[in-house]
């Protein structure tokens, strides 16, 4: 349940495998200019197929800070972040998953938040929340696709969970 | 019955007819007729045919409810958990059954022995009303076989319904004990009767306590639903008092209504004492009911003022509220005043019916009509209505069965020597509006 992001391996000798690897594999610990073209996100891979995120295209239409806050060293003007984060430094990691945890409601994570009374970010969304809040917010504003299956196809397990088998009888659910 | 009366038959009213041997239980069960004779009169009575038709439709529906569940016969829903069974069967039947404790208090506690001719009728009315309220409840409960659970298995003592359950159960026991005196006379078990007589005061006082609490508790049940019940029918502070106080005219007027029906349809079963005193007692009961009604009117107004709900009176719900109060409280007060002033017993009897209607309307409004006023109006399913009518018919049939037999409307003559004493009661003028001094001549006890 975490993003699958590993270094690419150019030594692979089969073309098919190379293409597949390019889809799956990305480099994140690089400056903005060296950002990956695509990132495969499979946090919801249980009910949905992984998302192949066209990072290059999105980097063309939006400022880094829209998604990456101050971490890329280009904070939004007047951003709250710069009060504490210097703003012109690039973080060691700008990957979403390095701050936004995959299991935000695990007992351990919640305890670690509560124990740390100095902690400022008490309301940081989990990884899944961060993706969707960030993506859907923009998509709605820009008129980009917002349907669930417009970004990621549902798996068989997803069909089962959503009871795609349900037939629509006349009437409705009983009250 | 009339045919047999013409032929000189008189219903059983003593352990033995003069000069004859003791009657068997079988004889008493058919009122001294043979079974065949009894059956023939029952078949001739058109009212029995109406009952038969109701039962023919209704009893299969009751069975249907128990086989296919509540959902199959009622419109009870997730929004309207309580339908007609409870709003009519429980919430309306219970106040009309307050008569038992009212008359018990008047006779046993305050020593108004002049009320004795109707005391037993009031007691029976109370017992049957409560019993059938429980029958209605059993039909409505999801798992009626678990009814004893709050007494034995799991306890929720902070719940109002826990009080209602315990009080209704204990009060039913008290009422069975009170009415059992008549049964013991009929069965000729003087020892048992003597025992009950000895604990009468205890029974009566427990009756007052239990009635105060659970008549009130039925009202207090709605304090759980402040947002759901229309403010005009809801009062966090006074709901239980509204229910308790309205039960007083409700119970008393029910006695007037039932005694009127009895007088019209069952005169052969009533003895001289009952018939001769009834008009006078009807007026006396109406006085009590009027006092209850005026008190009720005042505390209802206080309820509106206390929560500052005047604004609601100008709405549609306000008109409905004013209709309920007008037809069920204000109009009866005016008519009772006229009836009492001019000794118009007929008017009083009609007014009592009106008051009973008013109390029933109030309970239906509280539990069903003005409940969920912000959602939508629930209309009971026709099967729900039919089952309610069936159960109410069963109530009437049971009522009649007991009135025919037990010494409720007449005195049981254990020894022929007591007869002259009973006759004494006849001497009182029937329309005398001023009751004679307490306990003057009305005696039913051995």
């Amino acid at each position: 349940m975490a993003t699958n992001q590993t270094h690419s391996k150019p030594s692979l000798f089969q073309l098919v495998l190379l293409v597949a690897a390019l889809l799956l594999v990305t480099v994140v610990t690089v400056p903005a200019a060296e950002a990956p073209d695509t990132i495969t996100l499979n946090v919801l891979a249980e009910l949905y197929e992984p998302v192949v995120f066209d990072h290059a295209m999105h980097a063309d239409v939006a400022e880094c800070a829209i998604c990456h806050h101050q971490t890329t060293g280009q904070p939004e003007a007047g951003s709250r972040c710069v009060r504490c984060h210097s703003g012109n430094e690039t973080n060691a990691s700008v990957a979403c998953r390095d701050c936004h945890v995959a299991e935000p409601f695990s007992a351990d994570y919640m305890r670690s938040k509560e124990v740390d009374s100095e902690r400022y970010h008490i309301d940081m969304p989990g990884l899944k929340g961060a993706y969707h809040l960030s993506c859907l917010g923009c998509h709605t504003e820009m008129g980009a696709p917002t349907g669930c299956q417009e970004c990621h196809a549902r798996t068989a397990a997803g069909d089962e969970t959503f009871r795609a088998d349900a037939q629509a009888p006349t009437g409705g659910n009983s009250h | 019955m009339k045919q047999f009366l013409v032929k000189g038959w008189r219903p059983v009213d003593a352990e033995a007819k003069e000069g004859q041997e003791t009657l068997t239980l079988w004889n008493k069960l058919w009122l001294g007729l043979t079974f065949r004779q009894y059956l023939s009169q029952a078949v001739r009575n058109p009212f029995n045919w109406v009952i038969a038709i109701i039962f023919a439709i209704g009893i299969p529906l009751v069975l249907y409810r128990f086989v296919f569940g509540l959902g199959a016969v009622t419109h009870s829903s997730n929004d309207y958990p309580w339908g007609l069974f409870l709003s009519f069967g429980l919430f309306a039947m219970v106040p009309l059954s307050a008569s038992g404790f009212m008359l018990g208090t008047a006779v046993e506690i305050f020593g108004r022995h002049d009320f004795e001719p109707v005391e037993r009728l009031a007691m029976l009315n109370g017992l049957l009303g409560y019993f059938f309220a429980v029958v209605f409840l059993l039909v409505d409960l999801g798992q009626p076989w678990r009814l004893p659970y709050p007494m034995a298995v799991a306890f929720g003592p902070a719940a109002v319904l826990f009080l209602v359950g315990w009080h209704v159960a204990t009060y039913l026991t008290v009422q069975v004990a009170e009415v059992s005196v008549s049964f013991f006379e009929w069965m000729n078990w003087p020892v048992c009767k003597k025992f009950i007589r000895r604990i009468t005061i205890g029974l009566t006082v427990s009756g007052i306590i239990l009635s105060t609490l659970h008549q009130g508790a039925l009202g207090a049940l709605f304090t759980y639903a402040p947002g759901k019940l229309h403010p005009l029918w809801y009062s966090a502070s006074f709901q239980w008092l509204h229910f308790l106080v309205s039960a007083i005219p409700g119970g008393l007027c029910m006695v007037i209504v039932v005694s009127t029906i009895v007088k019209k349809t069952m005169a052969w079963r009533c003895d001289e004492r009952f018939m001769a005193n009834l008009d006078r007692l009807t007026i006396a009961l109406a006085k009590g009911a009027s006092m209850g009604l005026i008190t009720y009117l005042v505390i209802k107004l206080i309820g509106v003022a206390h929560d500052n709900e005047w604004i609601y009176l100008s709405t549609g719900w306000g008109s409905w509220y004013l209709f309920e109060m007008g037809i069920g409280v204000v109009l009866p007060l005016i008519l009772f005043a006229r009836g009492i002033r001019y000794n118009k017993v007929g008017l009083i009897r009609f007014t009592a019916l009106l008051t009973v209607f008013g109390v029933v309307l109030n309970r239906l409004n509280t539990a069903l009509i003005a409940f969920n006023w912000k959602l939508y109006q629930d209309i009971p399913h026709w099967k729900e209505i039919t089952i309610s009518i069936t159960l109410f018919t069963l109530y009437i049939v049971t009522y009649r069965f007991i009135l025919y037999r037990l010494p409720i409307l007449f005195e049981w003559k254990t020894q022929p020597a007591e007869a002259p004493e009973a006759v004494r009661a006849k001497t009182v003028c029937p329309t005398q509006s001023n009751p004679s001094p307490a306990g003057a001549v009305y005696r039913s006890r051995d």
């Binding site: 309301d123 409705g172 | 208090t105 709050p150 959602l375």
Partner: protein, 313 residues
Amino acid sequence: MSKISRRRFLAASVAGGAAITLAPTKKALAATFEGYSEGMGVLVDLTRCVGCRSCEAACNKEQKLPTPDLPFDDPAVFDQTFHGGTQKRRTTEKAYTVVNRYEPKDGSQPVYRKIQCNHCNEPACLTSCFVNAYTKTREGAVVYNSKVCVGCRNCMVACPFNVPAYSYSSAFNPMIKKCIFCHETRLKQGLPPACVAGCPQEALTFGHRNSLIKIARERMRHQPGRYIDHIYGEKEVGGTAWIYLSAVPFEEVGFDTTLQKEPILSNVKDFLSTVPMVLAIWPALFSGFHLLAKHKENHAGDDHQNIDEEAHK
């Protein structure tokens, strides 16, 4: 037990009781119950919900509920109305949570609102139950024991949020059906309920109720103007474990904003407090009336003198 030992036992009890009673403690009991401090809750942020109904699907799966009439991704349910168009969908025996769509008055984007049991701090269903079928667990869930339920449905009458549903269709084992915060299968293991885990937007934030209120305030502070200045459920009917933030007035999205701040139980206390008083005072009062009446009777005239004595011997 012999008389002596019973007496000794009583003496010991009295002494013990006196010792406890006379001990100079200054600790007073709280007048109201405001929930267990470690109780969990969920913060529902209506501004985040997109109406995907993943929560409904997750709930259906977790609680092994029957197949719905329409698939969970069918937006047609948002157009369903009931009872002459007055009612939107509600919780039923087949659905412990439902999401409804509302069109705000200002014509902005539709708002979606999730309904489920709010798991009150002092639940009306619990206090109205005469067989104690409900329990407020330390984890914050309001759970229900169908084994003792008689089916009086008082809890449904009492619930200010109209949440509990009843399986009216069952003839032999009908029971209350409602959200139980996934208590047995998840909450007890420290896991968030299935709906929270399934929410892609983190419109549902799981945590200690106390922390969630801080988070809710934090959101209102950091995004001025985004939210109505009210945390629904913080105070309503004594506080609920599930609390809500909204950008539009709560009454426009189906919330009852007329609810009292005190627990429902406080309405009933007036009556409950009269019960022991009636039990204690009435016997003496009415026995006294009886004695007075009897006394009067005995002195009223020779004719009546024996009647009562005879009757009550």
